[in-house]
Amino acid sequence: MAQTSARKQGVGSVIWEYLTTVDHKKIAILYLIAGGFFFVLGGIEAMLIRIQLAVPNNDFLSAGLFNEVITMHGTTMIFLAAMPLLFAFMNATVPLQIGARDLAFPFLNSLGVWLFIFGGIFLNLSWFMGGAPDAGWTSYASLSIASPGHGIDFYALGLQISGAGTLITGINFATTIITMRAPGMTYMRMPLMTWTTLVASVLIVFAFPPLTIGIFLLMFDRMFGSNFFIVEAGGNTIIWEHLFWIFGHPEVYILILPAFGIFSEIFATFARKRLFGYSAMVFATVLIGFFGFMVWAHHMFTVGLGPTANAIFAVATMAIAVPTGIKIFNWIATIWGGSIEFTTPMLYALAFIPSFTMGGVTGIMQAAAPADYQYHDSYFIVAHFHYVIVGGVVFALLAGLHYYWPIMFNTMLNETLGKITFWFFFVGFHMTFLIQHFLGLWGMPRRVFTYLDGQGYNAANMISTIGAFLMAIAVIVLVVNIIITLAKNERVGMDPWGDGRTLEWSIPLPVPYYNFAQIPLVRGLDAYWVEKKEGNGKMMPSESLTDFHMPNNSILPVVMSLGLFIAAFGAMYFPDGQEWAIDAVSGLEPKPWALPVLIIGLGITFVSMGIRSWKDDLGYYVTKEEVERDLEELERGGK
């Protein structure tokens, strides 16, 4: 049962290995590949939007297609690119940072990634099967119930499947960080990346169930004839807005907190200083997580919830600026007086501070409810959230990609090309979105496919489009960089940046499949740095070299996800042509095969869950002899 990592494998067995793997390092690569693919897809959609808006009265995209493109751009970027890419870095680093051999539930980790992949594929199949969703990424109920055809159904079912995967992964990470820490790794010694992962996971646990319910309501209305949002039958569309934003606002913190974690690691490493105000940082992270749940209605100021509700949510929203400010000042204080090394990840980190702060400041402007009536539904909002999401999350993803690349692939991305990417991306980003603040204030509405000549929008939109092209060039350079790096495949040794502070840098590269031959003993914050300064530069083991236990691979996660994927088609075509169905689909040709497909799909999933429960899955043991052989080989190779 033991894996043979050293033996040369054929293509088929590599694919099989990745289909069945439960190893967090391989799952990280799966997340990176799938998330990277969807990132490029969402990027192409963004380029289409900018080309359409480059000149007034453009007919590059039709109005309907433009709606589909903006919906899919937002949905893809949030659910299928940003979050999975963050999961990639969490998977690659968190178990190593806390000194664990794998996550708490390796099987569920695999289930999470496959649910995400199948959900993402399902959502994007809409392009080829009668049109993509077109009600915006928020999919407000009045629009989404009216939208004809099956576009919205793809949105609802695809997000339901991938959302289930996200929830599972959130539970998994929270459990791992609570139970699997190495001896000496107390909560207040955990690296910030681990802390932010923990808080983001907790947010996932509480934020995704409301989304699940919201999407179920939408699914039932569209596919099974219920009346949650059908106003004539007593329904209420505000329910969707509430449920969506109860999820949607924590979602932005789910995205930004791990980004903060990545940057905190990078600042400390490349300023060669301990993170300033560590405990304040932890406190601020938890506080942001908590406040993140109490502010969702600031997305709904213009709904007419009343002055009392608006005031409460406005004040709570402004309060979030306090812990975020604490973080910004702590990062600046970390760099202050440090011996800074301007590597590519550090460039992103330095650019992140002003960019993200600008996004934060416009956020406070919108938190003032009366002022928000002016900004609402204009390009000002578009500029604001791209400043926080791109200036925060995407910068972190690109920085993390360069920073953690050696841990994931045992080789380093080219620094020169990396810096070229950075400058193109940085300039392009500000060029695209800074001007959009002004477009918004001049009155240009968002989500409209074109604008008239002579309104004063022409030059600004052209500048914005040119900026988008610069970002596209940056991504192309990055892809070239990745291809060159993988082709050259120059192996690097342990601690390739030379200034690693946390446990993940204390492991030989490539990381053995069992991570740690002996679980290390943690003696302080920045465990590896402590050993470099006070010890002999090696982690002390907390246990003698013994046999230890590892989980078995399994194909069941793929089968379970496939079952839901099949069932989704059944659910989607179920209402076609039925007399109780909503107008959007009641005119379509009836599909008698829909119900059997739904039942078969769910059957596959439930039967494989039963098999999983019925069979004993006890894992296998890695023997002491095997670990000793690996250590000897490492000794010889290292000299």
């Binding site: 609570i178 907790v202 646990v205 509480f206 409301p210 209420n236 505000i238 329910i239 509430h242 109860i246 749940f293 109490m294 209605a297 709904v303 007419g304 919830l305 009343g306 002055p307 009392t308 509700a309 236990h549 006890l618 894992g619």
Partner: protein, 115 residues
């Protein structure tokens, strides 16, 4: 799955464990009795309508919360050691739950408040 590495226990230890479990079982039976009792009262108050509805509503809601606390602390062993994180998670969950319900009761309708 790590093998079981439990040292054999002495007679006295086993006896102690057994006594403790019996005591715990007794507590659980008492809390079950309380839960049944509270259910009776809640249904009784509602069915008989002996007191006005605006008093009955907070009262039966209060009974529900007491029942749930009993269920969590005794049936689900939340009173035992090693449940700190469980308490933290459930309390956070209940806090959010109350927040969701309050907003959905008071601010889901359009129109009225803007005067």
């Amino acid at each position: 799955m790590a093998e079981l590495n439990q040292e054999p226990m002495t007679k006295a230890q086993l006896e102690y464990l057994r006594r403790q479990r019996t005591r715990e079982m007794r507590q659980q039976l008492v809390s079950f009795g309380l839960m049944i009792f509270l259910t009776f009262i809640a249904f009784g108050l509602t069915a008989m309508e002996v007191i006005p509805a605006q008093f009955t509503i907070p009262l039966v809601l209060g009974f529900a919360f007491i029942q749930v606390i009993l269920q969590f602390y005794y049936f689900m062993h939340m009173k035992d050691n090693g449940h700190q994180f469980a308490k933290l998670f459930m309390m956070t969950g209940f806090y959010f739950a109350i927040a969701f319900c309050v907003t959905f009761v008071y601010i889901v309708w359009i129109g009225a408040p803007v005067n």
